[in-house]
Amino acid sequence: MRLTRSTAAPPPLAGGNRSLRGSICTAILLALLLVLAGCGAEYPQSTINPHSDFAEIIHSLYVSIFWWTMLILAVVWVLLTYVVVKYRRKSEDEQPRQIRGHLGLEIGWTVGPALIVIAIAIPSIQAVFATQRPVSEDAMEVHVTGHQFWWEFHYPEQGITTANELWLPVDQPVNLRLHSNDVIHSFWVPKLGGKRDANPVPAVREGQDPKYNWLYFTPLQTGVFMGQCAEFCGQSHALMAMRVVVDTEEGFQDWVDRWFRSEGADFPTEAADFPSEGADSPSQALAEVAEYAAEYGNGAGDLDGSGVPVVATGNEVLPVQAASTHDDDPLVARGREVFLGSTCIACHAVQGTSAQGVIGPNLTLFGARHTLGAGIMENNRENLIRWIKDPMGMKAAVAMPGVDYPGGNWPATGLSDDEVEAIAVYLLSLK
């Protein structure tokens, strides 16, 4: 809080007008109060508490500009106070000297600020290039897709797709490629650096490169960092948050491994008793899902064959690995069965199962997420049950059906309370 305290730097006052001085003092006191209120508390989304190289560049720049502006403010306020106090009209027939200007002064207060502007602009421009410098070779690439109203993270090198929680290894440069298939969103995790918009990418002709935005930084400390969509993107813009988990090198590797292990011993391609609403066989159900994905996945930013991804990334079925269900709760097995048998899989994917929907967040390792619903609440059984029953009740305009209303072009799920609970337990078991 070193920084904010100085906001209150009182311009020194010299005698005079009582009411004016009083009000200025009150203002200063008030500012102090605000700062004090600020000091004791924890600000998880603070812009002035950097934890990455990017954020640090910005912060030191901000601090220097801050002091320049405080200097200017002090000068203006001191002059103003002086003038107001000193030159009050004492009698009605005062005749002040009629001065019309002074060339020296004009030059002075043109050149002075000009110098300050230079002093601010040069480091700013340096920082512009420093924060958009060429990417180093060992940088890890992650493709970020903003959706109304959640985040998708695809790791092309690892072949992982996850949502709403971005896992990163500490001290490892990372290069985020940002885009959106619907409206503009903006990726912002203040402690890890500035924001950058996730724009819908205009379709391009064969052979031309689509234009993506990039955000390149190195997290410098482990921890869970809060972030939030910063570009107004519709009804639930306020509820489009996220977490970035910066883990140790090993922790990150472990997360990657777990992602591939999380599920899938019995990928039910052969299972005869695979139920799906209105579907006679599992293969038909899967076909429906694929069709659905083709149809609606295209919907938002339909870029028909332009070379820009039209559906969310990472929808290929990845190789099945060893099963590992981390929970002995008998509900898990039941939940899994219900989940794979309901409309959920039209939109959601769980690695190693028949659930390979790409319209909603990938739920692999969902149990390991700290939050639910794009970072808006704690991920626990109670919240999850409520969410599955009534997502719209928790987030207006969410594109997901509830138990008794349709959503995102899909009918109500019609699940019973037991089934919902089972699904919740199952999803939480995916760690």
Partner: protein, 616 residues
């Protein structure tokens, strides 16, 4: 040197021998710039309350984390319409009210260059304002923010009429703005009294000229952008549709190419006002007059080359970013020059703290804060943290409310006696000022902190985890205090309109030509046009006597003024209607809608503008 005019002529006791009509019809058909000005002011104040009420609901909703006083959809409509209304229906028309009243008086003309066009612009503005607000009645208020970024406004993500109301409403208002701009440029260039050289014009007139140039050059840009958007929504073009190769970012360019000059459209009139008020209450001519004029022109000009500072997060690349960083920061220099010249005007003066002067001083104090946070935004890397956070909300309310609005309120207290022949109540005025200062700072200062601690803007609620409740609570309390201050202002206006203390022709001992007319002025302003010999015609004894000898007496024969006409209101109604029909998206309905416009234009063209025998 000169002596300052204290022996001023008294106000007009008896009404002019030409009895002016006062009925409703006379207001509807008026082409008198002074009456149009009053209507502008009343309408803008009305919209101020509407938009302010929305702000209060917004603040109530944000007082505590996780509240749900209103639905997210309604919240989005409220902040969108708060911003849209405040900018296009409050700040701009309120400035235009001052242009209208003062420009002919300050340059020594009897009316503006095109009186009927003036009335037309007013009615279009009013109908456009009503049209865009009527969307609430249909539950379809605009909801995509005042900047309406594509693709959120594309038919796919904003089905329904909400966005159509917005884009059609804004284009209607745009027509009025361009008409106003043309009219004031012509008036100022062409209708100055003998001797009123450019470099003798009052600063307010100068800033009106610059603002008008910004209007006629910036508004067409958003006009075309709105046409594109309308075509995308109604006729299937792909200007901003990524699927068809359109670039949503182009909308942002076009919007801000308009949008940044727009913010100077908001603030320059206020700068003009205080450049006239401060000298009067300092009993000193404006320090560095030509420099202040050039600085204003420069601000308007450079203001054209900085738009992408609203787009640093869009990913334009480091070269473009750097250019816009530098261009933006350069604006600090002419703005600072203005500030220092105002301070120098007061330096060594004899300051009288009337309410008008207090608002000027308040403006100097708080505008600097807002300007400096603008400089922080202008540093692209820093902007990446501050953009779309409450820090920006703090910045622009500090400059808009703290400068544009406060400047106009200074003007209100200053010129009210001219308009009404009565003073605004100074005691209530002081209450207004101090509640404004307290309420304003309490509302918007804490927003800096909310922003620094990571609160994004345009969110209907925020998480308690962010720990920004205290700042939001202070803001909310401040907003309600600010609300009270606005009520005091209106109360003061209403009360003083009826029973304020009578004011003489030049009650403040001011220097400029508008004070050489009785309060209120004749409807023809000047019986005979005075000749001007200096920048402060009323401060130089001999010149004052000459001017007053020409401007004060009742004329033997009244100058012929343009006829009243109801065609402006009819044409404005027809234009609004025909524009509104665009919502149908059916080309022949739109074409049919043009008929009344053409008809009204025809009738207008053939109606004599002047009484029999006076036209050419």
């Amino acid at each position: 040197m000169s002596t300052i005019g204290l022996e001023t002529p008294v106000g007009r006791e008896a009404p002019a021998h030409h009895e002016e009509d006062t009925g409703v019809w006379s207001w509807i058909t008026t082409v008198d710039h002074k009456r149009i000005a009053i209507m502008y002011f009343v309408a803008a104040t009305f919209f101020f309350f509407i938009a302010g009420a929305k702000a209060l609901v917004i603040r109530a909703q944000l007082m505590f984390p996780g509240q749900s006083l209103i639905t997210p959809e309604l919240y989005n409509q409220f902040f969108t319409m708060h911003g849209t209304t405040m900018i296009f229906l409050v700040a701009m028309p309120m400035a235009v009210a001052f242009f209208n009243y003062l420009i002919p008086l300050q340059i020594g003309a009897r009316d503006v260059a095109f009186p009927r066009l003036n009335a037309l612009a007013f009615w279009i503005f009013l109908f456009g304002g009503i049209y865009i607000n009527s969307s609430f009645l249909f539950g379809a208020a605009p909801h995509a923010s005042w900047v309406g970024y594509a693709t959120l406004t594309s038919p796919e993500f904003s089905p329904g009429q909400n966005t159509n109301f917005w884009l059609i409403g804004l284009s209607i208002l745009g027509i009025a703005s361009i008409m106003g701009g043309v009219n004031f440029i012509t008036t100022i260039i062409n209708m100055r009294a003998p001797g009123m050289k450019l470099m003798r014009m009052p600063l307010f007139t100068w800033m009106t000229l610059v603002t008008s140039f910004l209007l006629i050059t910036a508004v067409p840009v958003i006009g075309v952008a709105l046409i594109f958007l309308g075509f995308d929504r109604l006729f299937g073009t792909v200007f901003f549709q990524p699927g068809g190769g359109g670039d949503p970012v182009l909308w942002q360019h076009l919007f801000w190419i308009f949008g940044h000059p727009e913010v100077y459209i908001l603030v320059l009139p206020a700068f003009g006002v205080i450049s006239d008020v401060i000298p009067t209450f300092s009993k000193k001519p404006l320090f560095g007059y030509p420099i202040v004029v050039y600085a204003g022109i420069l601000i308007g000009f450079i203001g054209w080359g900085v738009w992408s500072h609203h787009m640093f997060t869009v990913g334009l690349g480091p070269i473009a970013d750097s250019f816009f960083v530098a261009a933006t920061m350069i604006i600090a220099i002419p703005t600072g020059v203005k500030i220092f010249n105002w301070l120098a005007t007061m330096w060594g003066g004899s300051l009288k703290f009337t309410t008008a002067m207090l608002f000027c001083i308040g403006l100097l104090a708080v505008f600097t804060v807002g300007g400096l946070s603008g400089i922080m935004h202008a540093s692209a890397p820093v902007n990446l943290q501050q953009h779309d956070s409450y820090f920006v909300v703090a910045h622009f309310h500090y400059v808009i409310v703290g400068a544009a609005m406060m400047g106009l309120w200074a003007g209100l207290y200053y010129w009210f006696p001219k308009v009404r022949g009565r003073f605004l109540d100074e005691t209530l005025g002081k209450w207004h000022f101090w509640t404004t200062m307290v309420g304003f700072n309490l509302t918007f200062f804490p927003m800096h902190f909310a922003g620094l601690f990571g609160m994004p803007r345009r969110i209907y609620t925020y998480s308690a985890e962010l720990n920004v409740d205290i700042y939001n609570q202070l803001s909310t309390v401040g907003a309600f205090i600010f609300g009270i201050s606005s009520v005091i202002m209106v109360w003061n206006i209403v009360k003083s309109w009826r029973s304020g203390e009578p004011a003489s022709a030049n009650p403040w001992g001011a220097a400029t030509l508008e004070w050489a007319t009785p309060s209120p002025p004749h409807h023809y302003n000047f019986p005979r046009i005075p000749t001007v010999r200096s920048r402060e015609p009323l401060w130089h004894k001999q010149e004052r006597e000459e001017v007053l000898a020409v401007t004060m007496p009742e004329p033997e024969e009244e100058p012929v003024m343009p006829n009243p006409s109801y065609w402006p209101i009819v044409l404005a109604g027809a234009i609004t209607l025909s524009w509104a029909l665009v919502m149908t998206g059916v080309w022949w309905i739109i074409a049919l809608g043009m008929l009344p416009v053409i008809l009204a234009m025809f009738m207008w063209a053939f109606e004599p503008a002047f009484p029999e025998g006076h036209g050419h």
